[in-house]
Symmetry: C3
Subunit: 264 residues, 3 copies
């Protein structure tokens, strides 16, 4: 059964209001390319970001955070250990956490790292088609960090991965899908410009963690984050000359969405 | 005794003109989130930024720089060693330096790193209330990187820390305070939007280092940086739709402030 | 013999169209300050960026990429090993690659790293006057990352370095020069604002790699990248209030240049 959700569905409005009210502390172990943009996206949406990356601190901090993002985009030996400790601590402390397996389709070393992290039971796994296909056990087809598998074709892999791991899977593409293995939610919208700014997908993983940190159930958190991104992306595209002004407008729109007098 | 200072006080105008004339080389050992923004802020204000982070180079470079910033936001084992060497070399070479003890209130490992760095006698310590309270020996109350202690309540801790270490302490909050333990300077102004862009506080530490590098005495350097930030922040907020456009306008205003025909 | 090239020379238009058609995958081992901006520049111009920095992956990924950038701006022990492996793999796999020897004029440790990388025969070396003078064996005169040697005065060093290494040398300055030791191409234009945004030079190295990855011969690739940057920089400066809005407009213009109805 597939249902559609787009902004401004009342559930999503309610979840965004809850996020802003709580301003959850979100611990991010993410890549060096997207760190600044991700922090700004979290601040714009109303969360409180903190990047704590040392292996000596990552576990302690994951336990005190409201939500955790682990993104393997620029993983190294040093950060892999921090990720392992953060994921383990999150699982112990019941901190909800999001795994973003960037480019696991292309590179065997990080495929192993991401697969090992699954043992700590991520709450949500967010990726593009080739990343989800790879984690689900299919043959990777990733060309770098971009997906060459359409998200529609990857949907059955997403459902299988969700069923096997117990995580909700958020599959990004022209249309986003969110699934727990049984239910499938389709989130349409957004704008192609979102693929021309670095870190938009990475920041989506962080915002899913923020909705989780505000207490949303996983299916609903991933749906809300995807729908808010799609809505803000459409509004930003309408104001942009190119990807530079789009990125700026996207941050603005994330801070404004849901704050209008009619609540959307 | 507390005095007020805001842009465009003549002393601050003079110090900014001196900074622009000298374009001091500022060595930054800062976090991965704020690196790009910090470099752009330094360029906008008229300084010359350089991020040199290897332990093999940090000491050598700190000795040749006009000013140094050490910010522990994403400190790791590797960068902690580089920070130690840079601080030691700065102390030896009489390079003025700024310590930004990000989130020491929340995390014990970096609290030790920051405390150890005090032995190299930072020229200025910049932090929010909970960070300054922690370094001053009070119990930390930090929730991640944001302060939960009001800056007013932290002022006595700032004075005590300044007296004990010999550093000027710049306490950031709704109102900024700068103190050498005896004198207290209050810098009002700015805009709440400044807390919704990542790295603004981190960049302030770098700009304090830039004023130091241009030859300003510590109390005056921290005051000038805070006042220029507040002034540029107000101007940028007047042009912004949200935090995305605010960040862009803030960089623009930092480059424009003080360049008007009347000098402000 | 020196010839001039500026946008919109037909060769450059053709090369840019080829780049956009192929969307080459560009592997970047670059500094933490410029990573986000570099990725956005590559996306804007039409390439596909990927930052893969672990020593376990850098070689494998360099072999599958269409082009590689190695920039030593924030090199550490860990990333130096990744760079070594990436350069070796690129040489083996005939992946064209660009070396950006940031600040080798100022720091001996990275001078050795950059010099060792020359053994893997970079396709293009991009730097400012003091960096090129240093690599060419002259005495470095670098103050941090900015050049204190004029690019004109460094031109003979660039020719000598090109002749000795077999690389094309792209010498950045008020006027850019591209040389293979014999031929010299002069690319005028651009705007002083380009020196007031961090990472513009670093991103130029990445865009040279993108033109190489699209199949352009080295002299032509470095020329096209420099000319497109100069053209986009002029257009962006016409729209900017300061360096903040310039950086945004520069990304926009990189995405728009060459897409007008008349092809420029």
């Amino acid at each position: 059964m597939t249902i559609q959700r787009t902004w401004p569905h009342p559930d999503i409005q309610a979840d965004l209001a809850a996020l802003r009210h709580q301003a959850p502390l979100i611990h991010c172990l993410t890549n060096i390319v997207a760190s600044g943009f991700t922090a700004n996206v979290l601040l714009a949406i109303g969360a409180s970001p903190a990047m704590v990356i040392a292996k000596q601190e990552a576990g302690e901090f994951a336990a005190m955070a409201a939500g955790l993002l682990i993104n393997v985009g620029t993983v190294t030996s040093a950060t892999a250990r921090a990720m392992e400790r953060a994921a383990a601590a999150a699982a112990d402390a019941a901190t909800p956490w999001v795994l973003d397996p960037v480019a696991v389709g292309a590179l065997a070393w990080r495929r192993r790292i991401a697969t090992d992290l699954l043992a700590h039971r991520p709450t949500v796994i967010r990726g593009n088609g080739s990343e989800i296909l790879t984690l689900a056990g299919a043959e990777g087809s990733g060309k770098g960090v971009d997906s060459t598998a359409t998200s529609t074709a990857s949907l059955s892999a997403a459902r299988a991965l969700a069923s096997r791991t117990g995580a909700v899977v958020a599959l990004s593409g022209v249309i986003d899908y969110v699934t727990d293995g049984a239910e499938v939610i389709e989130v349409a919208g957004g704008d192609p410009m979102m693929t021309r700014v670095t870190g938009v997908g990475c920041a989506l993983g962080a915002v899913i963690a923020a909705f989780l940190g505000a207490g949303c159930p996983p299916l609903r958190a991933a749906t809300a984050a995807s729908a808010v991104f799609a809505g803000a992306g459409e509004r930003a595209a309408a104001r942009a000359r190119g990807p530079g002004s789009f990125a700026v407008a996207f941050i603005d729109e994330l801070s404004l969405i849901g704050s209008e007098p009619d609540g959307n």
